[in-house]
Symmetry: C2
Subunit: 307 residues, 2 copies
Amino acid sequence: MKIVALAGGVGGAKLVDGLAQLLSPENLTIIVNTGDDFKYRGLYISPDLDTVCYTLAGLANPDTGWGRNGETFQVLENLQKLGVLKWFHLGDQDLATHIERTYLINEGLFLSQITRSFCHSWGVEYSILPMSDQPVSTMVDTIDEGELPFQEYFVRRKCEPKVKGFRFAGIDAAVPAPGVIEAIMQADSVVVCPSNPWVSIDPICAVNGLCDILATKINVAVSPIIGNRTFKGPAAKMFIELGIQPSPLAVARHYKKFLTGFILDKMDEKLKQEMSVPTLATKILMKDRDDRRRLAQDVLNLIQSLQ
Amino acid sequence: MKIVALAGGVGGAKLVDGLAQLLSPENLTIIVNTGDDFKYRGLYISPDLDTVCYTLAGLANPDTGWGRNGETFQVLENLQKLGVLKWFHLGDQDLATHIERTYLINEGLFLSQITRSFCHSWGVEYSILPMSDQPVSTMVDTIDEGELPFQEYFVRRKCEPKVKGFRFAGIDAAVPAPGVIEAIMQADSVVVCPSNPWVSIDPICAVNGLCDILATKINVAVSPIIGNRTFKGPAAKMFIELGIQPSPLAVARHYKKFLTGFILDKMDEKLKQEMSVPTLATKILMKDRDDRRRLAQDVLNLIQSLQ
């Protein structure tokens, strides 16, 4: 079975790791949100891409899910001594990625080429594609502080400002990165990982042409919400602030334009009757690599039943 | 006594440290060669400036004389894993300097402003000035391999190619950094540190107007050569390849346009009779901080005798 996964950061990377435990590299392509990308002291940082790559390379920090395992912070500590504000917890190993990516982008290479080269260096055989080679910046519109760039909202303001909407700056000029459309066309199904619908999956779907092609596929989403809460990140808080009761149902409705199958947690099994697409209830919290594989198997089983 | 020191890297930084042990910040300004500056993976690296700054900040690696004390190399190791050739032994603490300098230069700040800001952060009260804010690149013309950028000659080719000349690319557009001319004008004397005459001191003197103003001052040089050898670096080898017998005498002749006093090693005391300027023979090898201070005191004593 050929699968394309749409992923944001930590939650997405976990399910992607589960899928990679079951599928060979020619049968799994991962399309990753780049709306969170930002520059820090001139370095081009692509948090979701790195999280997915590090996870599949076995280099990720198992405690945080992001950043590198056994990381040190000499560069950051010395930047602080030079008076640089420390917003971002960037480690030394991780910084090598950012330095080299910045260098190659300034040399004129595309993010997709760079990501392929890095994956090759890290021994990752799966295709990990940025959603677009053109820069797209997720802007969070807030009630009290106006529009904030995503990382400013997420890291510096710790998701505290109340949101009233989102804008993906640059999206009009963005086209899918090479291989994105082809991978979706050839896939038996698209898996929407349990990432934030508003700021991880929506930017991917907003890239020109992606939504249209998704509408032609079997698309299975895994809820990032259990009960009325997320495991991690501000998705539930965003639903509330946008006037929507957070729940797996709200997530499924969010994806209604293209959704053909849904997976929610056993705890929310009663909601199956309200779902308008075939829905599987299973354990969706991924605490270890076995959980990831089991959930990925459930996803593949649901897809098979939909074919 | 108000002193300006002209310095390259390690040898220059040592004498500067000696002078700083004897002179207060308002009485010592250091003008540093930037002809060795280069870019590595897009990062702007200024080796001599950093060596002088780290030395006066007490941050320098006491074993090498360059780089940082207690340094780690996580970034470099991870750059290598991404396929980047490791020419330069750049540590993590050191890289923070290069990242921030690159960021600020790209923001439009001048190297002299950045250096002042970094020195302030590191607690260095002495004025350390780049020779110029405009980029100057020392090119080493070699017999067999044509013209090589300095770092390619020095680090990658380990000074092996035979030299036949030097060119300071960009020198025509370079003007002295703010404060350079003023510091020399106000100084009682200029100290030419025991740095490489060809590639550390000559680039400084080649900056527009510097040579002319030096000619109006008391200028005391410390030989970087003892007998026919240097303590470090390719100066002696360069003299030979350029057809000149390396010796303190050759160094003094090299500086003849502006030299008013000279210091050579006790071992070379017999050469004093051949010198055309007042010359002091003393122990010029600086093995520890006391040696640096003693040599600096000898320099100040010679200057006093010349006033």
